[in-house]
């Protein structure tokens, strides 16, 4: 897998972020505060919730997409910590839907092409992705195969002449119903399973490809799609990574899981901290101080947010050092996900009646965070993974 790009291990100090990251953080935060935050309520209140597609190009201009990609391909040069800054500031932005859509484009669709694609594939799809000219997505999950990736049923069969014929269904695909380019996992052997999976690039205009949008509890501005492939004919150059990666799709997916989960843990802890702070602000504004019962509850949550944040940064540090971080990443993902829900739930309650009738941001915080313990591997699966690394 000579052309596959793996993140290089870094020699880092204990402190991860550098002054350049602080600068970037300020810039991204300013962009989020101007371009996302003021509009989210309105975007979500529409009959068909969503944000303008032009936001991808705006985000690209603001420099959000390119931190895992070489400048030659439209990126900013590889700096994973800069990418973390973007993840955190999007999480702080208060819209899980927008963060998910931009994230699925930058961390999944286009990043898969960058990481696993041939140079030709990179040249074709990565620069327009980096510029936000096209929207990308990754399609793995199927109606009958969620966390259990190996059991997907979508199949690609090589035709005489070298084309592939793709058939199957995908679901819960972020950006799926409006992406231009999609990386799709399919079985390519009779046996299927771990050793017979391959990634393909599908264009939205490929005949036989259709999609519909799925209405979801949260992440309401993201275009979550159900995808159908009915005899979609793909030329040989759509095999991601070329012949070298034939049947290697499962490995590719697993390789990228750690980063996805670190991102979710980073986002979850940042969101939890922000929501908790806003809850404190609300109570102090209303009562001059945190009232008694809430003092205990919020103190407990504050202590927990600190601990889970420390765990998340620890997992990130191990990962960036190039160490095996599966255990710590899975722990952080599990804990941060549930905690983000717990905190949002408590702060919704702290609002009282106005919270559930007239305060979109905290409702959105709770609805959006509720995906965290489900997406990217459920909490139950995370504990399975942790247990395995512990020899249990």
């Amino acid at each position: 897998m000579s052309h596959v790009i793996d993140p290089p291990p870094l020699e880092l100090d204990w402190e991860l972020y550098r002054p350049r990251h602080d600068t970037l953080r300020a810039e991204v935060r300013a962009w989020v505060d101007a371009s996302i935050r003021p509009h989210v309520d309105e975007w979500e209140a529409q009959d068909e919730p969503g944000f303008p597609r032009g936001l991808f190009a705006d985000a690209a201009r603001a420099g959000l997409f390119g931190w895992k990609v070489d400048e030659a391909f439209g990126g900013n040069g590889v700096d994973f910590l800069a990418d973390c800054v973007v993840v955190e500031e999007l999480a702080r932005g208060g819209s899980g839907g927008v963060a998910a859509a931009l994230g699925a484009h930058k961390d999944l669709g286009s990043y898969y092409i960058w990481r696993f694609g041939t140079d030709e594939q990179r040249a074709r799809w990565v620069p327009p992705s980096m510029h936000g000219e096209i929207v990308t997505a990754l399609g793995v999950t199927e109606p009958h195969a969620g966390t259990d990736v190996a059991r997907i049923r979508t199949r690609a069969v090589r035709q005489p002449g070298g084309d592939w014929l793709l058939n199957g269904t995908k679901t819960f695909i972020t950006n799926g119903s409006w992406a231009d380019v999609l990386v799709i996992a399919a079985q390519t052997t009779e046996e299927g399973g771990h050793h017979g999976m391959t990634l393909f690039v599908v264009d939205k205009d490929d005949p036989g490809f259709t999609s519909r949008r799925i209405d979801t509890l949260g992440w309401r501005t993201s275009h979550t799609g159900e995808l159908s492939f009915a005899d979609v004919r793909l030329p040989a150059d759509r095999l991601l990574g070329g012949e070298e990666l034939l049947h290697q799709g499962f490995v590719c997916i697993m390789r990228n899981f750690q980063w996805e989960r670190i991102s979710m843990a980073l986002a979850g802890t940042v969101a939890a901290r922000r929501v908790l702070d806003e809850g404190v602000r609300l109570l102090v504004d209303r009562h001059g101080r945190i009232p008694e019962g809430w003092r205990w509850r919020l103190a407990d949550l504050d202590a927990e947010v600190r601990a889970v944040r420390a765990l998340t940064v620890h997992a990130l540090r191990l990962y960036l050092h190039g160490q095996d971080a599966v255990r710590e990443v899975s722990m952080a993902k599990a804990k941060a996900s549930v905690l983000s829900v717990t905190v949002a739930d408590a702060v919704l309650e702290a609002h009282g009646a106005s919270g559930v009738t007239a305060t979109p941001w905290i409702q959105r915080a709770l609805r959006d965070s509720r995906l965290n313990p489900i997406g990217g591997g459920t909490t139950e699966i995370m504990l399975e993974v942790v247990g395995r690394t512990l020899g249990l």
């Binding site: 009232p291 559930v356 509720r370």
Partner: protein
């Protein structure tokens, strides 16, 4: 698209002796109606401007609302519990909370000695909201002016009549208000988290002019009426809320028995099996407490803190159960196409709604203090 429940949609029988055959017959009738309306109808009301008026007429025409009356007025605590255990399965806290308010507001009107209005409310001809909040009445010549705000009132968006609950010197005054009067302003919630099929609204009274006869109870009498009503209402609320949580549990169990991961039904994973068993234990305990409280209510043996504790736990456990059921659904739990998302939103909404856990907890703590012969209240 609701996921079809595999098990028959019935609550388990809790005992052979608390409910009579008449109660069980009522339960069966309500259940049949709910199965017709609930499976398809109620969820759709979230998208069609709220539950339609003929629902009220149907419920009223069966005499179901009258179960909320005092026994002396022909009501029946246990019939009410049996009925709300079935109505709670309507898959829409919006309509359930509105119907609960209607039943108890109508009963309050009966007890306050306004038979004509009460009768029309019981018959479903008048939609009534009970308006508790920061209200006051002040004289203006022969008339009275009602002013103030009351948040998140069931039925208020389309109510014909309001019963305003106004603190007075010795207790509480109850005033009947025609919502066509000038000064009545009802604002539906801008962003309802749950209860989406209902007609709740924030209400402002801007000097609504009432006649002296519109005040139907005062002082200690009004307070006593409200207290008794609150106990009944909380009981019925708990019966309905626990039933809704049971329904979410039944759905989750059915889903977990058919959904496979790693080659076997997810219900067979021990963590899920224990989660379902634990939820069943929690809900069984709550239902036993509902029945126990009902029994003691019929015997006039309730003590301070009893219904507060019931409501607190009903709301909290129901919310926790709905959350765990959503998790059991995995990605599908997050789509608007499954019922569990609504159960989750409704339960979270009720938990932080009008009652407010802080107030309930304080009431319970005061009850504990008084049992121990001390305390502040």
């Amino acid at each position: 698209m609701g996921f079809p429940a595999a098990a028959p949609a019935t609550l388990p029988r809790m005992s052979t002796s608390l409910f009579t055959e008449e109660h069980e017959a009522l339960r069966a009738v309500v259940r049949r109606w709910v199965e017709r309306e609930g499976a398809e109808g109620a969820p759709a009301w979230e998208r069609t401007g709220g539950w339609p008026r003929d629902v009220l007429r149907t419920v009223a025409s069966q005499g179901w609302l009258s179960t909320a009356l005092a026994a002396s007025g022909g009501g029946d605590v246990l019939a009410g519990v049996a009925m709300w255990e079935e109505l709670g399965r309507l898959r829409s806290a919006g309509v359930v909370q509105d119907l609960l308010a209607q039943a108890h507001a109508a009963a309050l009107l009966s007890e306050a000695g306004v038979p004509a209005v009460a009768q029309r409310a019981h018959a479903g001809e008048l939609l009534v909201t009970l308006a508790g909040g920061a209200l006051r009445l002040r004289p203006d010549g022969d008339a009275l002016l009602l002013s103030g705000t009351a948040p998140a009132l069931a039925n208020a968006a389309v109510a014909d009549t309001a019963v305003a609950v106004v603190p007075d010197e010795q207790g509480i005054a109850l005033a009947v208000v025609d919502t066509r009067l000038p000064g009545w302003h009802a604002t539906p919630p801008a962003s309802p988290f749950g209860r989406r099929g209902g007609h709740a609204a924030d209400v402002e009274f801007r000097d609504v002019r009432l006649a002296g006869g519109d005040v139907v109870a005062r002082g200690a009498e009004g307070l006593a009426l409200m207290r008794r009503r609150q106990d009944r209402w909380r009981l019925d609320h708990a019966a309905a809320t626990v039933a809704a949580a049971w329904l979410a549990w039944e759905d989750a169990k059915a889903y977990a028995l058919q959904r496979e991961a790693f080659g076997r039904p997810i219900a067979t994973f021990q963590v899920n099996r224990h989660a379902l068993a634990d939820m069943a234990a929690e809900l069984s305990a709550l239902r036993a407490l509902v029945h126990d409280t009902a029994r003691r209510l019929t015997l006039a043996a309730l003590e301070s803190g009893d219904t507060a504790a019931l409501r607190l736990r009903a709301d909290r456990v129901s919310a926790a159960v709905a959350d765990r059921c959503l998790q059991l659904h995995g990605g599908y739990g997050y789509t608007m196409e499954f019922d569990v998302q609504r159960a989750w939103r409704d339960a979270a909404h009720l938990r932080v709604d009008e009652a407010g856990d802080a107030a309930l907890r304080d009431e319970i703590a005061a009850g504990l203090e008084s049992r121990m012969g001390g305390g502040s209240s």
